[in-house]
Symmetry: C2
Subunit: 348 residues, 2 copies
DNA sequence: AACAAATATGTAATCGTTTACATAGAGGGC
DNA sequence: GCCCTCTATGTAAACGATTACATATTTGTT
């Protein structure tokens, strides 16, 4: 593997000069510059980033700690992060962890010397507390807000989004609106529940415990909860699932039970995953700009990395948008399946 | 940031001893070992991996070069890679590129000194040729087979999978079976086309150009192709889409046109993405074990990395499996939406 | 003509590790 | 008591870059 020394020898120059040419630091004669650049190219010299980061104490790499989550959310958030990072010349070191304190801590240490900063996605409410340990590198906390500590955080406008959806249902005349909740330990889930209750109160409706069903963001949970709701004497006329996966599970339960959506029961989800529009009926949801979330997290992190000294900690929130389709029967329903997709879906 | 020197000073020992303790190399007294380990833990010492990799010339990191692809495929393959890598104590450095020669090459160099090996997912047939440059580190080529060079490759059993699906359609009595193709520059697409033709020939049917429609793996393309097929005087009785996204697009075109599936036209896809089973009717497809694909790629790469000297190049292929649901009306149709999902879908 | 300033280049220290080699004391066999 | 072999530790040289400082050459000012 060719090193800077090899190039220097070949060019009859010192390594310092080569380094200066390649980094554009310090003065060099035009001729020397050309020679060395040409030589370096021909010899396929690429600086060893480990060596470089050792002396500059910069790695130009950002760490990403993600819980073991699946599907569209994962890929979208990485896309947002990577494109932003790449635009700034940074790489992404990705690590999946279980969202538990110990694992996160282990992963954090493993990143030492490899990254200039870390984005931690920690929807598990417990996990954030340990993160209070003063980290030596900048950290951005995603989908969770750490209590009174020293890192940036970025969250989804969960409460507002849920409130919008439920208010939408209320406007359609629904009074008995059920919710299929997420895990009580999940930050997003608790916020969405808060928004649900808020919207009901806004409408003068008293939240009712029997209409709040446990769930865990899985489609199986959505299915089970829907079955339970159907068994009630006083059925709800609308169901708000705290995420689309559960909404889809619920839809399939309703279909099996011969319940018409939205005529007998309206269904709304949260996330607006791509398949939402392909459901039958197409699922109304709360759109979350996932890639944007990732992009913004990296931007915040990069600011922390480059302005380490003066970087005021921030708490931001990306906004959501209500997307009305046929599953809630709203008047302004979106047209049936769109012909063009913003983004191409590539199979393999 | 605490270094090995700090620990050594605190322990009144030389850095060599500390290094030996922490790496379990060389002999140390039990007492010294305990002392240093305890101290290192308390001081939160973590070795600087850059420095370490400089001297050992190992990074314990694998690079992953992915085209800008979306959705489930991306996250699943990363999952498979990461879990395997983690099990071997390796990290993943992920970079998205456009699948073009220049970009791939740039990304490859940027990885120099950062990784011990690279997995390159290069479905674009052109891109593989440049990869022939003798890379200094091991490379595993995914979803593409490089011509007569020196890297491992791992592909999907595309041809066989497509053949199985089409044969299944033939067995149901179909004779006029259309295909919605992928890009002719895409390796998976061309192989699936090959499988389609093979199955037809096996059944004594002559492939017909008018039944082979262009597509690009996007749902929009599937929709458009289906519309075209419906406009033919002699409509096909079955459609095989080269991936699920196009199959879903086709389904929605058929629904809009009031064509019953599978009674009037049967539809089969490829990939078996998670939403396939939620379609109406549930979509028959060819299951691709995506996570496994990623896992196997990393395994091959790790073998190349650790047995650098004697590592015979291999060409492997992961097998697919036909999944019959209602969209092809096969007799042994899978039961309606499964109640439990192997993997939990977490929203955020 | 002399000297300062600017330009081009080289020398060597440094970053945080690992590790080959050196050293020193302890134990054992004769 | 001598030598050999362990065991435990220290010393210092790498690894491949960057960069402060030194040096030599050129240019410009007076």
């Amino acid at each position: 593997m060719v090193t800077i020394k090899d190039v220097a020898r070949e060019a009859n120059m010192s390594v310092a000069t080569v380094s200066r040419v390649l980094n554009g630091s310090g003065p060099v004669s035009e001729e020397t510059g050309r020679l060395i650049r040409e030589l370096a190219g021909r010899m396929r010299y690429v600086p060893h980033s480990g060596a470089r980061s050792l002396i500059t104490s910069k790695t130009e790499t950002l760490g990403v700690l993600l819980p073991d989550l699946y599907g569209e959310f994962f890929s979208e958030i990485i896309r947002g992060m990577d494109s932003t990072a790449q635009r700034h010349g940074f790489h992404l070191l990705i690590s999946r962890t279980y969202a538990d304190k110990h694992e996160i801590e282990t992963a954090m240490r493993a990143m030492r010397g490899r990254v200039d900063g870390v984005v931690v996605l920690s929807p598990d409410l417990d996990a954030d507390s340990l993160l209070n340990l003063p980290s030596t590198i900048p950290v951005v906390l995603l989908c969770s807000v750490a209590k009174g500590n020293e890192m940036d955080s970025l969250t989804i406008q969960n409460c507002r989004g849920a409130r919008d959806m439920v208010t939408h249902l209320v406007k359609l005349g629904h009074r008995r609106i059920a919710i299929i909740k997420g895990s009580p330990r999940n930050y997003d889930a608790t916020e969405r529940l808060r928004g649900y209750r808020m919207a009901l109160r806004d409408a003068g409706i008293t939240p009712e415990a029997s209409l709040e069903r446990e769930g865990d963001f899985s489609d199986a949970a959505g299915y089970a909860a829907a079955i339970e709701l159907l068994a009630m004497q006083k059925r709800p006329t609308a169901i708000f699932a705290a995420n689309d996966a559960m909404a889809i599970g619920a839809l399939s339960a309703l279909r099996e039970s011969g319940v018409r959506v939205p005529e007998e029961i309206a269904v709304g989800g949260f996330d607006d995953i791509p398949l939402a529009r392909y459901m039958d009926p197409p699922l109304s949801s709360v759109h979350v700009p996932i890639a944007e979330l990732g992009a913004r997290a990296v931007e915040m992190l990069l600011h922390g990395v480059t302005h380490k000294n003066d970087h005021p900690r921030r708490r931001e929130r990306v906004s959501t948008e209500l997307v009305i389709r046929r599953s809630t029967g709203g008047e302004s329903a979106e047209r049936p399946p769109p012909r063009t997709l913003k983004r191409e879906t590539v199979s393999t």
